[in-house]
């Protein structure tokens, strides 16, 4: 957010800061989706990229799992490693038990859906992490919100809400304070942070790169030797931020899936917490 505020100070000196709308690369279709509008706008680049990511992931894993050989080839090995990573490192380790396999497809789909869409932000010309648009982040977080609440209700019935908000072993006179906190933290803050964490990191990274690009363009076009010279520093910083952003893209996909697994586990074993 600092990144958003900083350039505002420089407006008077002739630099026009990029707005969030500028982070849109040119839309594929001229009526492309815009921020802040509900059903207006149309089929934007971001939606096309989401569909593209689905095709990409599906194609890769279908090809990787098609041969089904006991001794895997390169592609099958890659696919198996990717699947095994989500299955074992996230699903088995977090959810555990005998029936973690039932939730592996959710985690697996989420991880690669988020990962590929994030990495789109680091690929030139695509250069847009799909989850920097809030609609997508809300959608995928909502899917998991409904999933783990549903799991809790299915497993424990209506008692689930009591199990989720009343911690065991707390003295009765503290409960009036604890219960509202638990309700807010579990059922309101949790899904909101789940979506905003993903959305904000993607948008921030995207904004920084956009901002750096705009700044360099401005500094070079001023004609001032000093600004042109220092633009090299900005370029260096931008590249460093770009690398950091690439790391965060992978990390956030992992964090998102990990949290989803933790929430599912929490709903499954609500009585044990």
């Amino acid at each position: 957010m600092i990144a958003l505020a900083l350039p505002a100070a420089t407006t008077e000196e002739g630099f026009v800061p990029p707005t969030i709308d500028d982070t849109h690369y040119r839309d594929i279709f001229p009526w492309g989706g815009e921020y802040g509008v509900w059903f207006e706008g149309g089929f934007g680049k971001q939606m096309l990229m989401i569909i593209f990511s689905v095709i990409l992931i599906a194609t890769f894993f279908l090809m990787a799992s098609r041969r089904n050989a006991l001794v895997p080839g390169k592609m099958q090995f890659l696919g198996e490693s990717a699947y095994g990573f989500v299955r074992n490192s996230i699903g088995k380790d977090i959810i555990g038990g005998r029936d973690f396999l039932r939730y592996v497809p959710w985690l697996f789909t989420a991880f690669f859906f988020v990962l590929v869409n994030n990495i789109f932000g680091a690929i030139p010309f695509l250069q847009l992490p799909s989850f920097s648009h809030p609609g997508s982040a809300y959608a995928i977080a909502a899917i998991f919100y409904l999933l783990w609440v549903g799991i809790g209700l299915k497993k424990h019935g209506l008692k689930y809400f009591k199990l989720a908000v009343v911690p065991s072993g707390v003295p009765w006179y503290i409960l009036p304070i604890v219960v509202p906190i638990e309700i807010i933290s579990n059922f309101i803050v949790r899904p909101v942070t789940h979506s905003l964490r993903l959305f904000a990191t993607m948008l921030a990274g995207h904004l920084i790169v956009t901002l750096a690009g705009t700044a360099i363009e401005y500094m070079v076009s001023t004609g001032s030797i000093l600004l042109q010279g220092t633009s090299v520093l900005v370029l260096g910083g931008a590249i460093a931020m770009y690398m950091l952003e690439a790391l965060i893209m992978v990390l956030q996909a992992y964090v998102f899936t990990l949290l989803a697994a933790i929430y599912i586990e929490g709903a499954l074993h609500a009585d044990a917490h």
Binding site: M47, I51, P105, H133, G135
Partner: protein
């Protein structure tokens, strides 16, 4: 967040307000991907994992079985070796004993044979001696009679008397020769 929202509001759009189309496309994309994963990708991978686990565990089991079999065979061979050694020793002992027995038997048989031959020889000698004695008795009698008749003439032609004389004479002779043999 608030700062950004305000700023964005000033510029006409908030980053927090979702485009519903994007939301729907994301849900649909997730659903499609999830369907493919559940229907095709996951069963294939799980099947491969299971097959691989089974192959490895089966291989280990097979190797263990082979090892056990080899151990059993080795044990059996050792057992057989010990048995055959014992057997060989036994056979050797038996052969030695048998050889000794055969030797003893042969010796015994040879001794018996020699005894038999000696006995037979004795019997034959005795028989021949008897025959000789008998024939001598007849011959000597005749010769002596002839001689005596020639010496004393016809008077002694009476057979009965001469026979009695001869018999008495021979009996005397025999007695003397027997007593001489006993003295000897």
């Amino acid at each position: 967040m608030l700062n950004a929202a305000i700023m964005a509001a000033e510029e006409g759009s908030s980053p927090l307000i979702p485009n519903l189309w994007e939301l729907l496309v994301t849900v649909a994309g997730f659903a499609v991907l999830m369907f493919i994963v559940i229907k095709y990708v996951m069963p294939a991978f799980e099947k491969t994992f299971a097959a691989r686990t089974e192959a490895i565990e089966g291989g280990i089991a097979k190797a263990e079985a082979a090892q056990a079999e080899a151990n059993a065979a080795l044990e059996e061979y050792k057992q057989q070796l010990v048995e055959s050694r014992t057997e060989a020793n036994r056979i050797r002992e038996e052969a030695r004993a048998e050889g000794a027995q055969i030797l003893a038997e042969l010796k015994e048989k040879a001794a018996a044979e020699s005894a038999r031959i000696t006995e037979q020889a004795h019997v034959q000698i005795e028989a021949e001696r008897q025959a000789a004695v008998v024939s001598l008795r007849a011959e000597v009698g005749t010769l002596a009679t002839d001689l005596a008749s020639r010496i004393v003439g016809e008077s002694l032609a009476d057979d009965a008397r001469s026979g009695r004389v001869i018999d008495r004479f021979l009996a005397d002779l025999e007695t003397s020769s027997q007593s001489a043999g006993a003295a000897k």
